[in-house]
């Protein structure tokens, strides 16, 4: 399975600021995903990011708040913009296995605290 890294692993930010989270994969993948895991909650898909096209956002998530870049087949970024304490969560990227099984492999996550 792919090895996925995320930077930063954690951060504490002030409200009103923005944070960009990086996701790096050790192999080329077509589909990358960004999830949010709020305290005590399940994982919620934010958007799907394919290289060379605009990210597809799920209901409740908008590009102005969570802009995503996918410049190549091994890298993606998620920006959390104009943060509020409600944005405090773990943000996870994942990749499709590419085997046609729809299996996804996850990165270690970025723990964000907004004060």
């Amino acid at each position: 399975s792919a090895v996925i890294s995320q930077k930063p692993s954690r951060d504490i930010c002030q409200r009103g600021t923005s944070l960009t989270i990086q996701c790096q994969v050790d192999s080329q993948v077509t589909m990358m995903f960004w999830y949010r895991q709020q305290p005590g909650q399940s994982l919620t898909l934010i958007a799907t990011a394919n290289q060379g096209s605009e990210a597809t956002y799920e209901s409740g998530f908008v590009i102005d708040k969570f802009p995503i870049s996918r410049p190549n087949l091994t890298f993606s970024t998620l920006t959390v913009s104009n943060m509020s304490p409600e944005d405090s969560s773990i943000y996870l990227c994942s990749v499709d296995s590419g085997t046609g099984t729809y299996e996804q492999y996850f990165g270690p996550g970025t723990r964000l605290t907004v004060t």
Binding site: M31, S42, L45, E58, L92, T101, Y102, P108, G109
Partner: protein, 112 residues
Amino acid sequence: EDQVTQSPEALRLQEGESSSLNCSYTVSGLRGLFWYRQDPGKGPEFLFTLYSAGEEKEKERLKATLTKKESFLHITAPKPEDSATYLCAPSISGAGSYQLTFGKGTKLSVIP
């Protein structure tokens, strides 16, 4: 609306005490049912995929089964290192849809 319910929310077992975790789902067009393990401070680790009712998969002390409305994760003779949160996630079919709908998970604690 697609829904996933996992039970129990938390489970404490003595080492060697077998049990089962439940994942009930109401989704249309199930493409697959995925089980993950998540340790504190880490991302989910893939365990199993089940595609059709009656299918079973095993890995060490874990066995996953699937019916039309639920999946079970059976753990036999657990060890303390099996302590983690176990997540299930159905995937629904649909053009271009790779969405996994995660349950809230079952937090398993295995006491030596």
